[in-house]
């Protein structure tokens, strides 16, 4: 048994970290199935191998921080802007000068100092039950605090970053006091204490627990495009309302999935090549088709499903603001009792 132990230890200690020169190492909170196919395409076209670790955003940032200059990671990919801001804030990322990236990605979806770049975006609109709610009754996020919606809204827990980012965007545009008032009124209108994820809110609305739900667009898209018949049937009972569309309004809240080159990167050049590949027409179209997200590149069209939902005005706030106000948003949520 002892021999076996020594043997297996030797096996595990063999330098897995001896990763060859020129290969790009990626820490990703985007899950494997949603990123690996694209990385494989990149390897096939460029000959550059990509190594991948997936995990939770915050934990990967922590690992990056503790590893310091010795970190093997060249690229950090996350599924929201707040975390990219945090990585930058901790001094873990570096600036990249690339005209390809600059022209492909709209200004508000990348860092003003070129440290991180949005690769896809998603919106967090209001979903309503077609049989119960007339779209003309809806207008803005602010309107959701109106007593007429009491006991009619479903939303997930405030532990979730999508809610934190949404509230952070309100703090950025209207200040903390207005955001607190909004959150207070909003929580009063909830149909039930928050539970489950975004899809669960949509299903709950379809099943009759509430009339309105907040969720990210791709969950709705995946329910409509997926194989599960019940999910599809549930999603078909709902429709999207894009809030805050007026002339003066700030637009519907959006967030990105994006990436940043790490400060410790040993292969910056190839990491940038990978980033540039991810905003190529091919990669952008793949994202749109497979995950029902909006491509950041305006010349690439969204999937036919997404196009069917119509155009909308997106909040044009620079997404760095989401990260800046995150902690404040969490405190407000604690204070107003948003579970």
């Amino acid at each position: 048994m002892l021999r076996k132990l020594v043997l297996s230890m030797a096996l595990f200690a063999t330098p897995l970290m001896a990763l060859a020169e020129g290969e790009v190492n990626v820490y990703s909170s985007r899950q494997e199935q949603l990123i690996k196919p694209l990385l494989d395409k990149f390897t096939a076209s460029s000959g550059i191998k990509v190594n991948l670790v997936t995990g939770k955003d915050d934990a990967l940032i922590e690992r990056l921080k503790l590893e310091g200059d010795n970190s093997p990671a060249d690229l950090l990919m996350t599924a929201d802007a707040g975390r990219l801001y945090r990585a930058k804030d901790l001094g873990l990322s570096q600036a990249v000068e690339s005209d390809t990236l600059k022209t492909a990605i709209p200004e508000n979806l990348r860092d003003p100092e070129n440290q991180w770049f949005g690769l896809t975006y998603r919106a967090r609109p209001i979903f309503y039950v077609k049989d119960k709610v007339k779209p003309s009754d809806l207008s803005t996020y602010e309107d959701l605090t109106d007593p007429k919606w009491q006991g009619k809204i479903c939303v997930r827990s405030s532990d979730n970053i999508y809610n934190q980012s949404m509230l952070a965007s309100m703090i950025a545009s209207q200040g903390a006091e207005a955001a607190t008032q909004w959150a207070e009124g909003f929580v009063k209108n909830l149909a039930r204490p928050p539970e489950g994820g975004d899809r669960d809110q949509l299903k709950a609305a379809a099943a009759g627990i509430c009339d309105l739900a907040l969720a990210n667009t791709y969950y709705y898209g995946q329910m409509l495009a997926g194989d599960a018949a019940e999910d599809k049937a549930a999603a078909e009972k709902l429709a999207i309302f894009w809030p805050d569309q007026g002339e003066q309004a700030r637009g519907t809240h959006i967030n990105i999935s994006g990436a940043t080159v790490t400060k410790a990167a040993k292969n910056k050049e190839n990491a940038v090549k990978l980033l540039e590949f991810l905003v190529s027409d091919e990669a952008q179209a793949w994202y749109a088709e497979h995950n029902q997200e909006y491509p950041v590149k305006t010349s690439v069209s969204a999937s036919s499903l997404l196009k069917g939902w119509g155009d909308f005005k997106a909040d044009s706030i620079n997404l760095s603001e989401l990260g800046k106000h995150n902690a404040e948003a969490v405190k407000i949520m604690d204070t107003v009792g948003w579970k």
């Binding site: 048994m1 002892l2 076996k4 132990l5 297996s8 230890m9 595990f12 330098p15 897995l16 970290m17 001896a18 990763l19 190492n25 899950q31 199935q33 949603l34 190594n51 991948l52 670790v53 997936t54 995990g55 939770k56 915050d58 934990a59 922590e62 690992r63 503790l66 590893e67 310091g68 200059d69 010795n70 970190s71 093997p72 945090r86 532990d159 934190q164 204490p193 928050p194 539970e195 489950g196 994820g197 975004d198 669960d200 299903k203 709950a204 379809a206 099943a207 627990i209 969950y219 995946q222 194989d227 599960a228 019940e230 995150n326 902690a327 969490v330 405190k331 604690d334 204070t335 579970k339």
Partner: protein, 536 residues
């Protein structure tokens, strides 16, 4: 040497504890005025509920299966351990899928009766009570396992003596067998409670705010590492008290079986109604804790298997198995050294360090992972400075970039399991055996190798198998510490489930359960055989 090892294992925990000395920030003020009471109360009720649940399921089941006779007993005896292979977060996914408002049960109820929302009452699975049920259903085997082993190891003579002294069968259970098995039952309870405190997946999925979810929210949402670590340290203090209590309950008395007469157990034969009750109790527990969730996973897998199975999937299984085997053996060796060392030279310092290291079991895997990274990343930095100076080249992350760090983290997390099992095994060997061995000229290590190890074969196997199953189910540390291009079944399950694709998560989840069943069955058989002198 011994102290060094114990301290090394306790290092990650000490690294978190070190934050206690960072002055408290205004975040504490915020926590106290808003959410801390919720965290405390929920954690308290959760522990209380799960504790009661595992005792009420585990002890009677163990007694029925080892001391009574009823139809299907031999079969229930091993199958009641199966829920051990079911990770708590996975059983939570399956029951939510079934019992949710939008799930099949309530939907068909509504279509049958024509009721709408708020027309009827249905227990909400995503609640504190739901979390208690889920955790109790998969954690009761710890109590069942240890209590059964204790009942089986009791000499029948003790029970017979109690009968001659006028106890009836039930009295001899409450007055003799139960008190004798108490240390084992308490150990099982402590393991179950520590798992409960460390649980993140289930409570987070159900939206129950506990200490553990609070640590995460403070760390990431509020971005205050010091306050989060202080919360973690507070949690650890609870655990430390729990462990001290457990130890104190054992210290007051030692339980050696002084008689070597082990006759075949004459099982109590139950009356017809009693037997029916026993069968109902056993099958209901098994049904709810294992068969129903597995059936749900299987039906999800059936709908999705073609899109999941490819050569990468085989790799996932290999990785999970390899890690679990290596970690289990590593944990056994460590536990043997620490446990035997403590027996040879009982020193309060080593004892304390071992207790400290055992606390890892109650600490969320993510906290452990960060605690492990802090010292090892520092060590790597030092090594690289050295290599830079000596050879003008960098070695990269020798330790923190390899699988070694993950194995180490598993050991910090699961040492309690292997150490407690090994210590329980050692505790049953009378010190006179050591003395006899030594006086016949054996060295201390030879005593361990030639006398103790064969005598406590059962405990050693239990230690290996328990850690194996635990590592197979482990998620957070694997998620953070694994090297590039290395995935496991648990990671795959989590990724799909966290993207709210439960049905697709069915297959990897089912594979975790199936892989875990094999060691669980081995475990059960070894306990049945452990009864000295008995043939059953």
């Amino acid at each position: 040497m011994l102290l060094c090892m114990a301290l090394l294992t306790a290092l990650p925990i000490l690294a978190v504890f070190a934050y206690v000395f960072v002055p408290a920030t205004e975040v504490w003020q915020h926590l106290v005025t808003t959410v801390l009471t919720d965290y405390l109360l929920n954690t308290f009720y959760l522990s209380l509920g799960v504790g009661l649940g595992v005792l009420l399921l585990g002890v009677p089941l163990a007694w029925l299966c080892s001391m009574c006779e009823f139809p299907g007993r031999a079969w229930f005896e091993w199958s009641l351990l199966l829920p051990l292979a079911m990770p708590a977060y996975i059983i939570a996914y399956t029951y939510t899928g079934m019992l949710d408002f939008a799930g099949p049960v309530q939907t068909s109820l509504r279509s049958l009766t024509g009721w709408g929302y708020s027309d009827y009452w249905f227990p909400n699975i995503r609640s504190l009570t739901g979390a208690i049920c889920m955790l109790a259903l998969v954690l009761f085997p710890y109590v069942y396992l240890l209590a059964r082993a204790a009942f089986l190891e009791q000499s029948i003579c003790v029970l017979e003596v109690s009968r001659t002294l006028g106890c009836n069968q039930w009295q001899s259970f409450f007055r003799v067998a139960l008190p004798l098995a108490r240390p084992a039952i308490i150990t099982g309870l402590a393991l179950a409670l520590m798992e409960t405190l460390a649980d993140f997946g289930t409570v987070q999925y159900f939206g129950v705010t506990t200490f553990t979810t609070g640590i995460f929210r403070t760390w990431y949402g509020l971005g205050d590492h010091a306050a989060a670590s202080q919360l973690a340290a507070l949690l650890m203090s609870f655990v430390f008290i729990l462990l001290l209590l457990e130890q104190a309950s054992r210290r007051r008395a030692r339980y050696y079986h002084s008689s070597s007469k082990y006759a075949q157990i004459k099982r109590i034969s139950l009356t017809r109604w009693q037997a029916r009750g026993a069968v109902l109790f056993c099958s209901l527990t098994l049904l709810l804790g294992f068969i129903v969730p597995v059936a749900q996973l299987a039906s999800w897998s059936w709908a999705n298997w073609s899109s999941q199975v490819d050569k990468n999937f085989i790799k996932l299984i290999q990785h999970s198995l390899g890690l679990a085997i290596a970690a289990a053996l590593f944990a056994l060796v460590l536990a043997l050294i620490l446990g035997y060392g403590k027996r040879l030279q009982p020193s309060p310092l080593v004892s304390l360090a071992a207790r400290l290291a055992s606390m890892g079991y109650a600490i969320p895997g993510t906290v452990i992972a960060i605690g492990v990274l802090i010292p090892f990343a520092w060590l790597d930095t030092q090594l690289n400075q050295l290599s830079q100076a000596l050879f003008n080249s960098k070695w990269g992350l020798l330790i923190s970039g390899s699988l070694f760090i993950l194995l180490f983290a598993y050991n910090v997390r699961f040492l309690a399991v292997s150490l407690q099992t090994v210590e329980a095994g050692l505790g049953k060997i009378k010190p006179t055996i050591d003395n006899a061995g030594r006086s016949l000229g054996l060295s201390p290590s030879a005593v361990l190798w030639k006398l103790h190890m064969p005598l406590m074969k059962g405990s050693l196997l239990t230690a290996v198998l328990l850690v194996f199953v635990d590592v197979l189910k482990e998620l957070p540390a694997s998620l953070i510490l694994r090297p590039f291009n290395f995935n496991t079944l648990a990671v795959r399950t989590y990724e799909l489930a966290s993207d709210e694709r439960l049905a697709e998560a069915g297959l990897p989840a089912l594979m975790i359960v199936v892989t875990g069943i094999i060691p669980v069955i081995l475990l059960s058989r070894s306990i049945s055989r452990s009864r000295a002198g008995g043939s059953s």
